[in-house]
Amino acid sequence: MRRDRPSRHGGIVGALAVLLLAGACAGRGSAGSDRRELVVLAAASLTEAFEEIGANFEQEHPRVTVTFSFGPSDGLAAQIREGAPADVFASASPSWMDDVEENGPGILHRADFARNLLVVITPPDDPGHVSTLKDLARPGLRLVLAAPGVPAGDYARQILERAGIADRALANLVSNEEDVKAVVQKVLLGEADAGIVYRTDVTPAVEDTLRTVEIPAEANVIAVYPIGVVASSEHPTLARAFVEEVLGPGQEILRRYGFLPPP
């Protein structure tokens, strides 16, 4: 009994080493030393469209790997301010782009590349009986929004203000989610009765499991998305090329995912 203990521990160390090696090899392929990595920090709502644009960009630039970090724009801006390595920043609101320009390393080649509208989503069986925006004010409904500061959260609050139901609807708020995709998830799971997200978040992957309620035009907010090269980027030329890709061929992909053309 006592004698097989060291060999058992050796087995654990060996297993860890194998897992480590597997992790180091996975996804690397034939990565050469001249391979460059472009880090793109993008608003969570851009996830699906940017992944497609990134795949095209990699095909056109064979020695380049595009690495995305999707999250709430305020969180991404905070990471850039703190010196996270980033080449391109795409924000769901101009204010967090301004923040990086003023309090961070700065932004080059800034341009607006898309606009977006917001919608109300509910689970398919609509447990909260939501047929119009005003229904979000009905007492007892469980509403989830993105947190204040997250663009989707700020836009949602503006919409509720414009519709004149902010006080009563926010009394129904049960959670401030970290980004807009987390709002989609809570509604998808059926835990919340309703949420306010971008129209583009109702992607083909989830459109059968979500119900969409349009927000009247007079209350809706048009979100403007700016993109730019982070001034501290180590690959400014490549980063600029990615921005051009989004402004050029990427536009068709963004349209397909429901984004509106830039102003």
Partner: protein, 257 residues
């Protein structure tokens, strides 16, 4: 006296200690001392502190109530599958907290396994303080069970027999002989569970959501605020560091025995 360690070992050990200490030092270096009192007195921090103390306390008690009989059984009883049960009890310790949150939703969520029966009783857990307690109790559970099981195992069963031969009832022996001897391991378990519950983030944000005054604990507040107001995030982190140091003082090396 112990022999002086070789220089190489001392240097490597210093490296390890630095690695563990540096984030704390970094936090301290960033604390905005002039704004600290105002930040700590803000309603957001006050709410988060209240919720955190409520959630961590509730979670430690819940883990204790649910964990004590199980710890007893694991320490004393022989039954088939005991080793398996013992391994599964540790599961929340190795499970990524976000996965724990998804699991809690699948079990206690509106559409979870118990969602229907719970709703029949008029209970909807997600997004409530009770959900935050449940999430924290889940991840803290093994930290209560393991030290308590070890404590019960180290009790000499003959003490109970002796008490019985002297005419003590089972209940009397438990109350006057066994429980006093278990107090050190029970308090270790409760403190460890409390500390783990205090730091809980992933399962809470998945299962209980994030709403100020209801489910927003100190870690959730630190996460939300640090993106828009870094100084406030640091101040909340300082509160958590202070509470953690208090835990270490309360344990006073009991961890290492």
């Amino acid at each position: 006296m112990k022999p002086r360690p070789p220089f190489g070992l001392a240097a490597a050990a210093a490296l390890g200690a630095t690695f563990v200490l540096l984030p704390g030092v970094g936090l301290l270096s960033r604390i905005p001392w002039d704004r600290l009192p105002a930040l700590l007195a803000s309603p957001l921090v006050a709410d988060a502190t209240r919720i955190s103390l409520l959630v961590a306390g509730g979670a430690a008690i819940l883990a204790g109530l649910l964990g004590l009989p199980l710890a007893w059984l694991l320490a004393r009883a022989r039954f088939p599958g005991r080793a398996l049960v013992r391994s599964l009890v540790v599961l929340p310790m190795v499970l990524p907290p976000v996965v724990a949150g998804i699991g809690l939703l699948a079990a206690f969520g509106r559409r979870g396994l118990l969602g229907g029966p719970l709703r029949a009783l008029g209970v909807e857990l997600p997004f409530t303080t009770a959900a935050a307690v449940l999430a924290a109790a889940f991840v803290a559970f093994p930290l209560f069970v393991l030290p308590v099981e070890a404590g019960i195992r180290s009790l000499d069963p003959r003490l109970e027999d002796a008490a019985a031969t002297m005419g003590a009832s089972r209940w009397y022996a438990l109350r006057r002989v066994v429980l006093p001897l278990l107090i050190p391991s029970l308090s270790s378990g409760l403190i460890l569970a409390w500390a783990r519950a205090l730091g809980e983030f992933g399962a809470t944000i998945m299962f209980a959501g994030n709403l100020r005054g209801r489910t927003q604990t100190l870690p959730l507040a630190a996460f939300e605020v640090s993106q828009t107001d870094p100084a406030a995030g640091i101040a909340i982190s300082a509160v958590l560091v202070a509470l953690s140091v208090l835990v270490l003082i309360a344990l006073r090396g009991r961890l290492f025995r």
